[in-house]
Symmetry: D3
Subunit: 337 residues, 6 copies
Amino acid sequence: MNGTHKVKDLKTGSSVESTFLVMEKELREFITKEGYYLQVKLADSTGSIWAKCWEKAEEVASVFEPGDIVRIKGVVEAFRGRLQVIFEPEGVKKVSGTYDIADYMPRTSKSIDFLVHELVKVMEGIENGYLKRVVSSFLGDPVFLNAFKKVPSAKIHHHNYIGGLLEHTHAVTTLCETLSTLYPELDRDLLLAGALLHDIGKTAAYEYAFRIDVTEEGGLVDHIVLGYRMVADKIKGIEGFPDELRLKLLHLILSHHNYGEWGSPVKPMFGEAEALCYADMLDSQLKEFLQLQKYEEMKEKEGIWSDFSRRLGRFLYLGRERGKGYPKEKENTEENG
Amino acid sequence: MNGTHKVKDLKTGSSVESTFLVMEKELREFITKEGYYLQVKLADSTGSIWAKCWEKAEEVASVFEPGDIVRIKGVVEAFRGRLQVIFEPEGVKKVSGTYDIADYMPRTSKSIDFLVHELVKVMEGIENGYLKRVVSSFLGDPVFLNAFKKVPSAKIHHHNYIGGLLEHTHAVTTLCETLSTLYPELDRDLLLAGALLHDIGKTAAYEYAFRIDVTEEGGLVDHIVLGYRMVADKIKGIEGFPDELRLKLLHLILSHHNYGEWGSPVKPMFGEAEALCYADMLDSQLKEFLQLQKYEEMKEKEGIWSDFSRRLGRFLYLGRERGKGYPKEKENTEENG
Amino acid sequence: MNGTHKVKDLKTGSSVESTFLVMEKELREFITKEGYYLQVKLADSTGSIWAKCWEKAEEVASVFEPGDIVRIKGVVEAFRGRLQVIFEPEGVKKVSGTYDIADYMPRTSKSIDFLVHELVKVMEGIENGYLKRVVSSFLGDPVFLNAFKKVPSAKIHHHNYIGGLLEHTHAVTTLCETLSTLYPELDRDLLLAGALLHDIGKTAAYEYAFRIDVTEEGGLVDHIVLGYRMVADKIKGIEGFPDELRLKLLHLILSHHNYGEWGSPVKPMFGEAEALCYADMLDSQLKEFLQLQKYEEMKEKEGIWSDFSRRLGRFLYLGRERGKGYPKEKENTEENG
Amino acid sequence: MNGTHKVKDLKTGSSVESTFLVMEKELREFITKEGYYLQVKLADSTGSIWAKCWEKAEEVASVFEPGDIVRIKGVVEAFRGRLQVIFEPEGVKKVSGTYDIADYMPRTSKSIDFLVHELVKVMEGIENGYLKRVVSSFLGDPVFLNAFKKVPSAKIHHHNYIGGLLEHTHAVTTLCETLSTLYPELDRDLLLAGALLHDIGKTAAYEYAFRIDVTEEGGLVDHIVLGYRMVADKIKGIEGFPDELRLKLLHLILSHHNYGEWGSPVKPMFGEAEALCYADMLDSQLKEFLQLQKYEEMKEKEGIWSDFSRRLGRFLYLGRERGKGYPKEKENTEENG
Amino acid sequence: MNGTHKVKDLKTGSSVESTFLVMEKELREFITKEGYYLQVKLADSTGSIWAKCWEKAEEVASVFEPGDIVRIKGVVEAFRGRLQVIFEPEGVKKVSGTYDIADYMPRTSKSIDFLVHELVKVMEGIENGYLKRVVSSFLGDPVFLNAFKKVPSAKIHHHNYIGGLLEHTHAVTTLCETLSTLYPELDRDLLLAGALLHDIGKTAAYEYAFRIDVTEEGGLVDHIVLGYRMVADKIKGIEGFPDELRLKLLHLILSHHNYGEWGSPVKPMFGEAEALCYADMLDSQLKEFLQLQKYEEMKEKEGIWSDFSRRLGRFLYLGRERGKGYPKEKENTEENG
Amino acid sequence: MNGTHKVKDLKTGSSVESTFLVMEKELREFITKEGYYLQVKLADSTGSIWAKCWEKAEEVASVFEPGDIVRIKGVVEAFRGRLQVIFEPEGVKKVSGTYDIADYMPRTSKSIDFLVHELVKVMEGIENGYLKRVVSSFLGDPVFLNAFKKVPSAKIHHHNYIGGLLEHTHAVTTLCETLSTLYPELDRDLLLAGALLHDIGKTAAYEYAFRIDVTEEGGLVDHIVLGYRMVADKIKGIEGFPDELRLKLLHLILSHHNYGEWGSPVKPMFGEAEALCYADMLDSQLKEFLQLQKYEEMKEKEGIWSDFSRRLGRFLYLGRERGKGYPKEKENTEENG
């Protein structure tokens, strides 16, 4: 269990007693006197917060390491516009036992089980037996599925939390279903199989033992080529898999970031690849935008404009009352609806 | 009525007798002797074809003008790999009467009535009365609707045919419905109203009396600003329309091409605008890709690769048998589906 | 009246007593002890300066708000290479009365009346009656003129001060007069009307109650489209305004930032639009450069090079004695002049 | 003397007898029979035209070379929408004598003497003796001046005719005079000296014996560095020339194309260089635009839009009656001018 | 054996009798009369030439197909500045027998055996046993080596001939040897192994049965990922191969085109990858430049400048006498060498 | 002599007594009390370090200036993860005498004499007497050679130390020797002369009296044009220097940064210029990469990835044990080497 005070509920002046994941730990020198204080970054599934211990810093620091779960007892203060926890040397204890660290990390707000269920339903709707079999060789594999359910979709920009890849895969697959209805000339089975598998290389590209980081393989080879390799290996084991279908499915994975600045070694060369590529871009860009918008809204900054976002190259419009600036209620009378 | 031989059914060596729209007309000098022959571009709803008359060219040319409907009797020949119609001076007659020229132009392969019906359904599902009313002031206006049903979505690149804008608006709206399900934080009403109205400026930006062309207003002001103006004017007539909602809806229209190379004066500044912008890009890019792919497939070129597309910056993969290169049938036995 | 000590004249160690505009106000925690001090940003027409009050900060802070005029009595100190004012709690008083806040903000160094007079002269020289009438409907409107005389031309990059738009409009118009002499094929009336009106949307795009900021309309619609709308509305009221002339004038406004990265929805499509577009670019770029050069020169940094300007992507050459590095006097003898 | 029929006055069906410059000469094989016909490009100061001789082509071709002046007697025909001259073998004679070939090439429509006079006036207004002397060492040198009066400003894009550099230098200098009035902080003398000299390297970069071409030096070193060298050499000969002033003047020349894609080795690093750089860009871009617009207008193409210009990346708006689409007359009554 | 008249030796007016590879074959309609002539593209190892047969075209066309070797007897003519062969219907015979088609295609001017020998020497100098073994598993495999010796390095831009990959690999490897001497901090073994293997995916990416073309795998997966896969599979079979070394070698292959526009899924992330990447770019760019320069020089165009190269974005300087424009002889006297 | 404790050997807690070059000197205010402390940047040939004196700062500061050599006695502390020296007021003495300041600046790790010797050898191998003479007029001039041996190759990005230009010139020349062997069609003499001289303008573009900085001439004219000028002047003094050879050599210098963003006024227009351009790019990019990699490795940061490098746009892979993560030893048994 995860304590009783969640990060997102902390307020200036309140006391806190709860368990947290230690994400960072650092001894820092005082500016105006000799010696060190201890600064740690604490997290639970609702967010993260800095905490400081002013005394016996070196001694306290030896008790735990990043990645440990600790029980902290302290008080919440405001410092330069942000909250921080101040605790005494005796206010921290390392928790031993069998916690799932993923419980202390930010995670998707959607139900992981629901998302898996939806993806399995899509898989079952694939009519081409070869394609269904290769998808099933992943989704039907409990070891893979366990990783697939947890891995984030990125380190920083979007879906950067537990379950992020699953949520992103679900959105892209759903968009591809819509596209296959709008464009009957697209091979629905191929497009959906591609959507389900397009990012599976990320299961090998990220580690998230207690922080999201890029693995050696993820950095030096990248998730696109890793995913290509995983699918190619599975197909090898499926007898009679048509050669052109194999190449097309692999091409969907390789081209889904478009060629050029975004890291795909090839550009989409047929309709299904183009469809997947833009569905992926739509979901990634939109999610990143919405995460950034939410982050800016939570700053509780005065005025209608956010801070300038270098990443997006613009200010966001936060609205007069943060999106509540106009009446949304149904009107009673609608003459011409 | 449109004759009995459609352009798409013509074959080398066959004779043809049918009515066509005259799109272009030109007197051309013979290279090897004095005098002129007549070259005309004929079209019906299934495509266009060049036709030539070798004799009495000047006389024949005086009979009709571009934009007229003519009845042509001639024979079909191959010339440099393309078909052309050869007709005698007496094989052409101008047809007077009440034809709808739009019947002779390329048009969407979807049902225009069905698409309108779908859009009206979306409009009726909008809960916010102000937004519903502004959408309804367009879709409920028979004059507007008549133009909206016919106008193309572009002169060249995609949806460049009668009903193209309608088809594109339907696709974007459908994608936005999917997005509003995936992202409940989006204001569904605002997003759908924006999707329905985002391109209505095109009704004033294109003329298609018998060829698609850009109007003066379309070239000098552009459809984005025209659409902005049309919506702004309607909103003025709706009492009590909330000011922030007005600005947001107008911003959706203005920003839907993204800022920069694509012609929007502003970048999307809140989530619904970002969503619409990428939904629009997805449909435009995909449709353009698929139209180009179809065009390349119809070349009946040998080999698996298309000609190089400068527009897309790549070769397309046409497949071993033009997309039929692998068995798509359901397998009988699926152990692990 | 604005006090007796101007910001630009303050020096380390001197005492100050004068009225200022409060631009920002913040309570800040002491690093080394409990409690707060007060930090405010003060401005008059010659510049701005930070001021601090070390005692009774919360009490003092309650006396005034950003946007107020205060009378400050204090002393000037250097802190980290910049000047700041230190004042006692009793050294600040809110001034009530009828000050024009614009008197406390940075403003053009040119005479506003002179600039208006010049623009009116240009207007009067326009021979085409329709164009003269539409320009006159703005410059002849005292409400509009009052805003036009004060609004800045940008928030940050250039002419970002009271009267900035006026100064910029004057420069662009003067350049266009030169161009119409050099290029007699240009329609002088159209070009000058466009120059006079090209940026009038900025009167609605910026607010400068006491700080320059972008309005909702300015951010979500942008000054280019706002200006288009303002002119289009005025033209509607002028009977018989030729349609092509209307479109051309509107196009000058819409295209004056060029298409693409700079926010115009359309590229210049005829000579007068191209001329205006580059005249606007010349003045904007040059002014920004000169403002930046002046800023760097005032740093009194050692050496001939400025700090690296990210904005311009280069170092500036400040010269050996800040532009005074070589004799400028007339020579007495000029053998070969 | 230059004959009696000018290229710009030729019409289909008329006969022609006049002297022309031979720009190109080519023997071409007949497609449908053995043997050759002769094709030549003829020019006078008003334009150029293709001419053909169907008989005795080899014999006729031996009579003259490109660069010669010939007297042609023939008839004018239309071919593929363009005019051409057809002449008999005996209808051509090489003209010997003392013609100035520049008289047969396209040239500025302005008075060369007037332009020189204007530039000399600017030079004389320079107060700084050193700068005036270096300018005068060029404009006062009859050999240089003779080249300066004739050399074009480019091979293709703008001012590509006899006197083009002079015309461009005059325009840039005039714009810089305007700028020095608008921006008194600019060093007027330096700016005007830079404007007068900025492109003098072109006198060595182009040859125009009878066609505009790039010299070896022009291609391998480029006019910017050539101009730098010419000015640096002159300054060496002026005793006491202040070192900083020397560097600044050289920098104006080197940076006037801006750094990057346009070929300057350095970016403008102080205000006068920035001013010159944008004045040069304004005149070059505008002139290119206007030349292209004129070229499109002369096509007498139907409709309001030009052909697509790859160079400018857009269609031009030619207007309803080629710029005559609206009444320009003064109105009689102007209520509110 | 390959006949007695090589393409590069053919001259206008001479007769020709020799064997050639048929690269293209097309029946073309006469413009001025009914019926067809036959046009074929013939090649041998020294180049290619168009040939025409004016009579019995359909009959003659049925005798052979592209990819066949034919013996042609005809005469050489000039047509529009290029040579072509004209042959009679009886002047062509299909050659059956055991020719190696590669003998008829353009090939490296270097000795293939010498290049292989050099690469083997480099391989033998690799000290790290693991790296040497993985390189040897390719170079020591006769089937691979046979393909490696023949495959071109590109379809169009550079080294686009038999032996092209070998020549390019040799150049890159030689440059990497130089780099490992200049930069002792580079891991010489890793760099050289990467250089030897960096492009081996091209053996599967190009087919050159008688024309260079891209394979399905080459187009849809690309040579970089194919090479990655080939090396990864070999490493799997080498027991104890250090994991970090494996990743580094694979990264060299994946990153050697740099990230972004050039198709690598990852950017070089350590020194050896950066070194290989730029060595590859240097050789590719230089070879392409030199091939283009040679092509332009062979046009025997008048003047010092080549035609404008769109590919390179510039004119080439061909020199006064095609590179022979200055004395290269040693001087007899060198005072200060 | 240069003291006994080198910067690179300093450790927390040790005492230090040695001579250093003073690079920067600043009086800084205390945050928490009145008064100043003194902060100086000290350097020797192995690196630089910050030092502080807490007492009598103003008095101490008057003893020496940046550029002086001082003897410092103090202790080494860690501050915010970096080392710094703390010294007492009496712990610093200005050293008068005849030190060569270059001995206190970072310098190439290679032997300057060796590099010069290598370059002279290349020069002597040039067969063309004209080219050899122009190279010799530089390398044989002791004044030039003295500057050439010391000047850095850049202020920041690569080879930014004493001897940097020499090292870079050696590397580029060596690469060009390799290229001239691989590509016999290149004019070896021209290429090597160009390589030896390509950057000599840097001797006038940088000053390094005690810090590397850009000279006025270096900033306003740039090293490329300066180098062009230096070579052009020397060639003027060599009688009979072939004109085309002169232009080609000058073009090699002018084009060696490629046209466009990198500052060359012209693009390479023949093979030797292209070769030099890419050899220069290879060495510059690789050196910059390796310097950055070394810098990141020395941070002793935990983990396999470096900090993100904005300059390179990527993370670097530092490896499991900083490049020592896999066995490099020769294997004992190599079955198939």
